[in-house]
């Protein structure tokens, strides 16, 4: 039983990082129907910025309380990553809006390759290690919980709370939902559609930056290729939960994390990705729009 609880906890931690990244995929898809394949690399850039901020903090003040360091890292990473994402949307995606469906998809793949190669050139191809920041562990009824995992879960839940409030209770969220339903009608009613789309990219990037900060803190290693696997997993999570649905992205992220953990725990670790993706295939066969996705109704 402790073993099961331990593995569930490990899976939920992993899943909440996926969920934070998945939100970026799902929001962008929801509003402009485009899969932003560069989002995994945006996450990687967020992680790199967090690492650089941490190294600057350490070299300036020698010893920084971990909590302060984390908050500063997360805030700087959110701001700068959001700036990157805004720039990318402005330069690479906006000019293509209204062109044929595949154009933005291909551009996104191009941006993804561009970002990872850029980081490879300026930061070097090697893994960047970050010294361990927090190392306390606790034990509840035989389940070992590290403080890092608690931080990840706490930060994720608080962010999801803020995010839910933003989308459901503010005028920005209302504008977003309006653009999602019908951008032309929204524009006629006085909503600045381009601005709303930019804000969506910024929000997604900020969440990815937080995920990147958590990644650096939790695993302590980052390289230019670190965005790829989490990016693919998070995209899968978004599809599993129903792409376009915000609750779906969170549910999908947690499920992918749990499936990986529980499969590895009770069967062989070798096949954990096979298991996760097979379940995705089965879900999509029976629920083509994902677990919480709305069926696409053709508007006439």
């Amino acid at each position: 039983m402790e073993y099961f609880a331990q593995q569930v906890f490990n899976g939920v931690t992993l899943g909440s990082i996926y969920a934070l990244i998945a939100l970026g995929y799902t929001m962008v898809y929801g509003i402009i129907g485009m899969i932003n394949f560069a989002h995994g690399d945006i996450f990687m850039i967020g992680a790199f910025i967090a690492m650089i901020v941490f190294l600057i903090l350490v070299s300036l003040f020698y010893s920084v309380p971990a909590a302060v360091a984390l908050v500063v890292m997360a805030i700087v990473a959110m701001l700068l990553t959001a700036l990157w994402s805004w720039m990318i949307e402005r330069i690479a995606y906006r000019p293509l809006r209204g062109s044929f469906r595949l154009a933005p998809l291909i551009t996104a793949i191009g941006v993804s390759i561009m970002l990872s190669n850029f980081v490879q050139v300026v930061q070097g191809p090697r893994n960047k290690p970050v010294p361990p920041m927090i190392s306390q562990t606790f034990e509840f009824y035989g389940v070992v919980v590290t403080l890092k995992q608690i931080v990840i879960l706490a930060v994720t839940s608080v962010l999801l709370g803020i995010f839910w409030f933003l989308v459901n209770k503010t005028s920005l969220g209302r504008a977003q939902r309006a653009c999602e339903q019908d951008p032309r009608m929204a524009a006629m009613l006085g909503i600045d559609v381009n601005r709303t789309i930019s804000l969506t990219f910024i929000l997604g990037a900020a969440l990815a930056a937080v995920a990147g900060t958590m990644f650096v803190m939790y695993y302590g290693v980052i390289s230019f290729s670190s965005g790829f696997i989490p990016g693919v997993k998070a995209f899968t999570a978004a599809v599993l939960g129903g792409i376009g649905s915000i609750q779906g992205a969170v549910l999908g992220g947690l499920l992918i994390g749990l499936i990986e953990a529980l499969w590895s725990a009770y069967f062989t670790v070798d096949y954990k990705d096979v298991a996760a993706f097979s379940i995705l295939v089965f879900v999509l066969i029976f629920l083509p729009s994902g677990l919480l996705g709305k069926a696409d109704v053709e508007k006439v």
């Binding site: 073993y3 331990q6 593995q7 490990n10 899976g11 931690t13 992993l14 490879q120 070097g124 191809p125 090697r126 893994n127 290690p129 010294p131 361990p132 190392s135 562990t137 070992v144 590290t146 890092k148 990644f215 695993y219 302590g220 290693v221 390289s223 290729s225 670190s226 696997i229 990986e260 953990a261 590895s264 725990a265 062989t268 670790v269 070798d270 990705d273």
Partner: protein, 371 residues
Amino acid sequence: MRKRLVPIMAAAVFAVLGTSAHAEILIGVGAPITGPNAAFGAQILRGAQQAADDINAGGGVNGEQLKIVVGDDVSDPKQGISVANKFVADGVKFVVGHYNSGVSIPVSEVLAENGVLEISPASTNPRYTERGLWNTFRMCGRDDQQGIVAGAYLTKNFKDAKIAVVHDKTPYGQGVADETKKALNGAGVHEVMYEGINPGDVDFSVLIAKMKDAGVTVVYYGGLHTEAGLILRQLADQGLKATVMSDDGTVSTEISSIAGDAIDGFIFTFPPDPRNREAAKGAVDTFRKAGFEPEAYTLYAYASVQVIADAAKAANSTDPATVAEQIKKHGTFHTVLGDRSFNEKGDTTNPDYVVYRWKKGADGKFMYSQI
């Protein structure tokens, strides 16, 4: 008349180009210059370059100079193949490389078809020389030799411990892990867990919880230093005090910056430090004077070039097939790694592995030393 002149002129041009290219012997260095194993790629390139410089300074080979051509395989078999094709197109006759067994094995077939000799300073998978190709050689030992040493060490020191064998599913990592497992099982020790992870994975918490549940106290990992470092770090995070043993793929000081203090007590198999050999003294001094510490595979790459040069001199030929024959029947080569000779398969007949351990030194820094 004019029409007939064109092919003649073309032939003349090619003849001129051909002879000018023959003034130097091209040696291709195929290694991961970028990517996760760039640290090892740098060692191999630096070692081969220095050897070529030293040999050229001594008058070259059969009156010709050695020239190094670099190909970056990024540790990827597909990139390796395109590097090999580029080497062939450039007229490279000898290749020093590659680093990863998973790259060396497919590349050697392309090179064999095109008459290029390949000598790997680092690929330890047995299959590399087991396929009966004429052109494959290696300066390092083989996984089965490494596995025997690792297995014997674990059997001797941890006979009654619960052992987990983990590998990264690559021909190299799984190769070493399987050979170690074979050696353990042969001695009557049976592992409680045998698992494969993905290279590039960062989250091992689930695997570690699984080890904890099975009561594992000794972990054997077949793979490279990035994942090994993360496993060490996460073992410490999860509070599982286990002895971790790994292979020569983890020999890099980078592992200690990934693992942090968790590196303490980490053991691995590697040949006795070639830097301490009498034969290597001159070369090591040259490297250190240039500000480069000839770690790990540097001297292996150096010795690879020496073997090619010596065999070409002895055979008085730069034809790869003749040189390959010469290496096999040559007897003893005096290299920076000491005296080496090769068998029919192209494996060195005098490999030796010993066990090293990471420990905190007097200066508070972690370093590895032979035990």
